[in-house]
């Protein structure tokens, strides 16, 4: 494997005695679209700012391109940042904003002019060069911030929740535009977001963070399919949890007693975060089906519908299983001929042992 472009080893950051980051170990590969995902206050911005050079580590080390960044100020690092607030210079026009970094590098005027024009065109702002920066919409500002960083052709582009201020439509448009840009320029992108959908759709790999620690680093599919803990599983999409008790393990199989479902033997690989300390079984809502008519499934269980949420293309059911207080959620696609059940009706729920995960 080629050398990772960004490497953090045992990285700590304290504000006073509050640990904003603790023992972060992270490798980001060259050219990948990497996302940092986590709830508010978990340290995403702090981690990004540490990479950019705005926070000095309390312990541990950071390497970019194999070189230690100790004592290297932000203006000497091969990274550029798109700030959460965009940080567009209000006293400069769009073109002057984009030219800022090129002027800092004292490039010849002619080169600056052509590169600025290219960058402005790349983010789709042709004709806006002379526009005063306070006369821009949120989406336009974000694109100026992007152009201003991309024009410098950094090795790594750091983006701090660049899309959170935009409305849904524009956000989705910018998401695909960002992805397209990243493929076109081949720069490593590190994106901070607290929107799991955004992380899943855009990234090659995602790091999930809680309380200043990295919980899991994986591809979107692996993260969704094999979360390493209940907390991660709950943060990425929806998951139903049932109490589970490990009875015995032998070789590759695990004997468990799962609430409502009874004794089962599962594969050890279904304990995606390791078998140690597992006390619940998780199953995604779309892995369960409500059987109708003569449909059968590998395994079936009787349940009672307690809530119905109809979304048009989908219906979300809350159903109550025997021996379980809390209802579980099942999502069903409303295909042709399918009737939507009503609250209080009995339902046959189909499930399979292989769709269960053992988590702690």
């Amino acid at each position: 494997m080629t050398q990772p472009i960004i490497q953090l080893k045992g990285f700590d950051k304290f504000f006073g005695d509050f640990a904003a980051l603790s023992q972060v170990d992270l490798d980001i590969k060259t050219g990948e679209f990497f996302s940092l995902l986590g709830p508010s206050g978990c340290g995403k911005t702090t981690l990004l700012r540490s990479i950019a050079g705005f926070e000095t580590p309390s312990a541990g080390s950071l390497y970019i391109d194999g070189k230690t960044m100790e004592g290297v100020p932000a203006n000497k690092r091969p990274t550029n940042m798109v700030f959460q607030s965009y940080a567009i210079f209000p006293h400069m026009s769009v073109a002057e904003n984009v030219a800022y970094g090129l002027k800092a590098r004292r490039l010849p005027k002619a080169e600056i002019t052509t590169r600025v024009a290219e960058a402005i065109a790349m983010v789709g702002l042709e004709g806006f060069g002379g526009r005063a920066s306070h006369a821009l919409s949120g989406g336009q500002r974000q694109r100026v911030a992007l152009a201003r960083a991309l024009v410098l052709k950094p090795r790594v582009l750091l983006l701090d929740e660049p899309l959170s201020a935009l409305d849904k439509k524009l956000r989705e448009q910018m998401q695909s535009e960002l992805r397209r840009l990243q493929r076109a320029v081949g720069i490593t992108f590190v994106l901070v977001t607290h929107d799991q959908e955004e992380a899943l759709t855009m990234s090659d790999r995602i790091a999930v963070m809680f309380d200043g620690k990295i919980a899991q680093v994986a591809t979107p599919q692996a993260l969704y399919g094999q979360p390493c803990s209940r907390r991660v599983a709950n943060f990425i999409g929806m998951m139903n949890f049932l109490d589970a008790k490990i009875l015995s393990t032998s070789g590759d199989t695990v004997e468990v007693d799962v609430q409502s479902l009874g004794k089962l033997s599962l594969s050890l690989s279904q304990a995606t975060g390791g078998i140690e300390g597992c006390n619940s079984a998780g199953v995604r809502p779309e892995m369960l089906t409500i059987l109708t008519g003569s449909q059968t499934a590998e395994r079936e269980i009787e349940a009672v519908v307690s809530e119905v949420f109809y979304y048009g293309d989908m219906t979300y059911y809350d159903v109550r299983l025997p021996f379980k207080e809390e209802p579980i959620t099942i999502t069903m696609r409303n295909t042709a001929g399918r009737t939507v059940l009503a609250v209080g009706e009995n339902a046959r729920v189909g499930w399979s042992a292989s769709s269960l995960l053992l988590l702690r």
Partner: protein, 292 residues
Amino acid sequence: MTWFQKWRRGEGAQGLFLISPTLAFTLLLLAVPLVLVVALSFWTQDYLTLHRTFTMDNYKTAWSEPMYQYLMGRSLKISMMVTAMTVLLAYPVAYFISFYVPPKRKAMWIFLITIPFWTSYLMRIFLWKVILGYNGVVNGSLMGLGLIEEPLSFILYNQNAVVLTLAHAWVPFAILPIFVALERVDRSLIEAAEDLGDSKLRRFFRVTLPLSMPGVIAATIIVFIPTIGDYVTPRLVGGPNGLMIANMIELQFKKANNAPLGAALAISAMAIVTCVALIFIWMNKKYIRGAK
């Protein structure tokens, strides 16, 4: 409903009510005297009697007499020097408080800066005389150290002393607007400049300074306009070569018994100051952009 009742309920009336004490005060103590001075400048005085026939003679004298031209020029020069010195001294202090003092202590620092106002201005001028005088602190120390043989005479009773004393007096007034402007500079903009590759010095000149210009401009105006009319300081520490136009205006009103000429000089000085200030603001208009 009559128009008066309507008007009384409107916002205009409320606003007028709010400012009415200030407005009355201003009209009485500023506008009325100003009108009187303007009127006076077109009259003539013969010992103690005023002749109220319209004449431009006072202005002709004020603008053509070399003595007055010279004094006007000197006054402009001195107050420009004071302004430059004040702003140059105030900026680093304001910068320090805004960028290096922890947020909790900023209020205390600003409070400390106002301490000089606890002593009257006259006292402070006399203190400068003590410091700069022939047998003063500076000369005493330098002679004590054996660095000079005789007391330096160029430090008191001349223009330098006027500039120094005025600058010292006005620095706090300049620090405050600059501090406020610096506080309003979004720190993420400075980080963005660093991120884009600028060194500390360059990002100061490309981001921090331009964005704090409204404060610098305010400070400049606040210092420049009143200093040009100052006559206490030049009188006390200026010596014969440090006198300014306001001293001449005072002279005309009092000893020379020529209030109309004094008035014409005063109005001319006001006009010139206004022009200079407007030109200055116009030159910097790109920095003065209000909230949109």
